[in-house]
């Protein structure tokens, strides 16, 4: 089988659009996932038993089902729920439902990282913050979380690299991300193998490069 990669060059602008969608989804999902994950971690560590248990259930629930199931769930369910709330059929694009699915799913994973990060900060820090007259939210915001995030930055980035690869699963609902664009472009010109290999190579270069950077960062941050 002879491979012909020449057709990829004219397709590059289209592929770049696909990559833009992938990256947009990634950045928004990481942002939302970290925020929700941090809230979950705070809930999990709170003195309120009910709140703590709810957060635990949430994490266990999302960690025991496949991401693809969550994506399919939200693709079908988010529009329905929205139409119940607003009363009329609001069209929600595949992008929004995928984004919601990723944020909810990844929050479970991010929250475990954040929780470990918070727990790695010594108790003296929060006691000192209280002694200075700070409230709980001030102590968390100004003292604990900045230190915790610094410590867990490598893990958060590593998880984001995994998420970058997982965004390709939006193929299931037909969203034109990088992989899906490459597949459809490849089919159009009759060179599916070349485009698939090219897509794989691009994913590899980005993931590998990013994880090497994370490794270096980890060494620099190491105490």
């Amino acid at each position: 089988m002879a491979l012909d990669f020449s057709q990829i060059i004219p397709a590059l602008p289209g592929l770049a659009d696909g990559m833009a969608l992938t990256l947009k989804l990634l950045v928004m999902a990481v942002g939302g996932g970290v925020v929700l994950g941090t809230l979950l971690a705070l809930a999990r560590l709170s003195d309120n038993a009910l709140l703590s248990r709810l957060a635990k259930w949430y994490v266990n629930y999302f960690r025991s089902i496949p991401l693809l199931l969550v994506i399919s769930w939200f693709y079908l369910v988010v529009p329905m729920v929205l139409s119940w709330i607003t009363g009329d059929l609001t069209p929600v694009g595949a992008f929004t439902s995928c984004l919601v699915a990723f944020v909810m799913f990844e929050a479970a994973y991010f929250s475990e990282i954040v929780r470990a990060g918070i727990q790695s900060i010594s108790r003296g820090q929060i006691n000192a913050a209280y002694a200075l007259g700070m409230t709980y939210s001030q102590a968390m915001r100004l003292v604990i979380l900045p230190q915790a995030f610094r410590k867990m930055m490598p893990l958060l980035l590593q998880q984001s690299i995994i998420l970058f690869q997982d965004t390709s699963l939006v193929y299931a609902v037909g969203l034109m991300d990088f992989l899906n664009t490459a597949r459809s472009k490849g089919d159009v010109v009759g060179l599916p193998h070349e485009f698939l290999l090219f897509a794989g190579a691009v994913y590899f270069v980005i993931s590998f490069g990013a994880s090497q950077c994370v490794k270096r960062l980890q060494k620099r941050l190491a105490v």
Binding site: S72, L76, V77, A172, P192
Partner: protein, 247 residues
């Protein structure tokens, strides 16, 4: 919008033969388990070999294992699956290609692709765990074995691996659970495993909520029972006197 709730849907006829919807879930679960277990055997065998290679002295073997891990960890699972399902068959020798494309049923060819894909994908992760397990052992274990006149093979066989595998049971458990979850990608190449069956039930019956709720429940229970099973295994093989071993 009117949604017609019906939790009894699972016991209603699908209209295909004499099957009820529950039969579809059961058959889907069967495929999911068949994919995951076969993939796990490949992953465990290959991952162990690669993990050992990464800890061996010399340059070449560790380098090969490292390259394998980097390659399989940095390409998305779905891309790997498409490569195994769409691309690799075209690279096979003609008789084998014809057999794959025409000699076997579409379900079998999809099954083979998914099993190979998940097996090799998970092997990279198992390799890292095995390597970590071996490296976590005190150096003295290796040195003592060599001083006793063990060959390298004997050292691994009798001293290092039996201990390393016990240490890594918890992380291996999560890889074992992951392979069950990851097997859902098989639905994207048309294998009727649990997720694909769920979608089909949702389409046929229009009872989307009920179908997906049951699927979620099945995955949840499967996950919990596997976790329970693995912690039972962990307790059985625990070394007395080690951390967590003393009761």
């Amino acid at each position: 919008m009117n949604y017609h709730w019906d939790w009894g849907i699972f016991f209603k006829s699908t209209g295909v033969g004499s099957e009820i919807y529950l039969n579809w879930f059961v058959s889907g679960l069967g495929w999911t388990i068949a994919v995951a277990l076969a993939g796990w055997i490949i992953a465990l065998a290959l991952g162990s070999v690669l993990g050992v290679m990464r800890t061996l002295p010399g340059k070449l073997l560790p380098a090969i294992a490292t390259a394998y891990v980097e390659l399989f960890r940095n390409v998305p699972l779905l891309v790997q699956l498409f490569i195994w399902y769409f691309l690799v068959p075209d690279l096979l020798p003609t008789p084998l290609e014809m057999w794959f494309k025409q000699g076997i049923s579409p379900a079998t060819s999809a099954y083979l692709s998914v099993v190979v894909c998940l097996g090799l994908f998970t092997a990279a992760r198992v390799c890292e765990q095995v390597r970590t397990g071996i490296q976590a052992l005190p150096r003295g274990q290796n040195n003592a074995a060599l001083a006793m006149g063990f060959s390298t093979a004997q050292t691994y066989r009798f001293v290092l691996l039996p201990q390393a595998f016990r240490i890594i049971i918890p992380p291996l458990t999560s890889e074992f659970l992951n392979i069950f979850k990851n097997s859902s990608v098989a639905s994207l190449i048309g294998l009727m495993e649990l997720l694909a069956q769920t979608k089909q039930v949702a389409e046929f019956s229009a009872n989307i909520f009920e179908a997906f709720t049951l699927a979620t429940l099945i995955y949840f229970v499967l996950n919990m029972s596997l976790m329970g099973f693995m912690s039972w295994v962990e307790k059985r093989v625990r070394i007395p006197g080690m951390m967590g071993g003393s009761k």
